[in-house]
Amino acid sequence: MINQVPVSYYLLLGAILFSIGAGGVLIRRNAIVILMCVEMMMNAVNLTFIAFSRYLDSATGQIFVFMVMAVAAVEVAIGLALLVELNRHKQTVNIDEINSLKG
């Protein structure tokens, strides 16, 4: 059944998800939401990889997805750690209020 869905649909979905994620990073002000948007971009890429992997009948794309998933987990952990650290100095997760560096 899955064969009836053309690969271009998956690619389009991937592109839309990636754009929503990228737009979210640029316009949202909450650091945690920004983190979620970055994750969304990564997973949009994963979808693209999987779609191409099936279309090309090659395993490389799937291996790449494994790496991306591991890296995405690492980035979430780092992001949360940095946020907790920053929260000790300033009681906020709003990136507009994190502005001590200027010049």
């Binding site: 990073v25 890429v45 001590s100």
Partner: protein, 485 residues
Amino acid sequence: MPIEIPTLNVIALAPQIVVVVTALVVMALDISLTDKRVVGYVSLLGLAAAAVVTFALLGGPAQAIQQMAVSDGYALVLNLVFIVTAALAILVALGYLDERELQHGEYYALLLFSTAGMMLMAAATDLIVVFMGLEIMSVALYILAAFNHRQVGSGEAGMKYFILGAFASAFFLYGVALLYGATGSTNLHAIGEWFSPDRGNLGDPLALVGLGLLLIGFAFKVAAVPFQWWTPDVYHGAPTSVTAFMSVGAKAAGFAALVRILMVSFDQAFTLDWQLVLAVLAVLTMTVGNIAALAQKDVKRMLAYSSVAHAGYILVGVVPATMTGVKGVLFYLMAYAFMNIGAFAVIAVLEHRDAIGTALSDYAGLSTRKPFLALAMAVFMFSLTGIPPFVGFWGKLYVFRAAVEANMSWLAVVGVINSAISAFYYLSVVVQMYMRTPTDETAAAPALRLSGPVVVTLALALVATVVLGLWPTPLVNLTALGIFG
């Protein structure tokens, strides 16, 4: 379906393995020792071992591991750049962290992992490995930038670097995904094969959009316009010893992977469609970096913008996509490692608690307070400007010559004009040090202490900047080995 068990040519990644094993030993020592400086010295020993291994492989046949990574001359010469960068940065950190009571073992482990990531990027011949190297390097740098947990600026620098770095990684990944879809492979040689003229795939839109997204990812990492705006904040907020490391290391690693990808995979496709774009980016990067640096009153921020400008000069060597350009880039990166880390080492000495002491006025009359420090800073500033007989001059000469040879003289002319602009702000530091008397505030500041490791760093950087400036032949011969295998 039977599975073919691959043979692993571990020698190809021997320098990287030495660095990673050192990092693991450093972690083990960190939980068993109380004096963390020992951990720093062990890291230096590990880097020395990696340098020995690199020299042993240099000049021999290129060793490849499963078409994933290769230790050819290009990767090995860059390994030396990363080892020099990491070693100098560790020496700066040994003194800097002590004074701020931040001497923790994690610092050295993270720095070594980051170095291993950079070395992996230089050796990678598959986009999977490029991505892994990029992430190993970046993730360690995010934490290092936020290392000074007593200062809000450091945490902020880490957060900004992390958000923008992860954002850039996502663009890089999407580029890889599109390239994979278009060419059916993530291997650099296979992609290059797919683009060969007789296959008729030149100008394929999907692959070109993929390359464009890759360029965005790399522009972030090397701090090129229009993705340079994170640089001043991150370089300013991060501990100075970390700024020294990442201003050189991350830039060198970004260029390392970018140049290999352009030369191996996009030889033809790049010159047809993207060369002009990258040339314009080089011009903008130089100009924006230099003009923004002119307005700075803080030396650390000024050097951050100047590092944007230097990314532009290096791009001038990348744009022609010729071997002359590659050698120029390698020379420039090595020269930049010595002079830039030297300059940041001076900043690290002058900066006392809580990021005070980095303003331009704090350098007033330094020549009477600490003559050696002032002399060293003056030499680094002259070298960064590109004034002979210092090593920075030869670096600029080689990258600009590559542009002229490729019939892009206008690019070299813009580069020279920009060097002239940069003289204003570099020399203003020298003017402050030698021709101004110390202000009351500066005179009241605590006495400057030069710790042993910092003196060693300054001496090494100074000697390299001057000697390689007067006699660049050894470095020219070294970069001549930097060929693709």
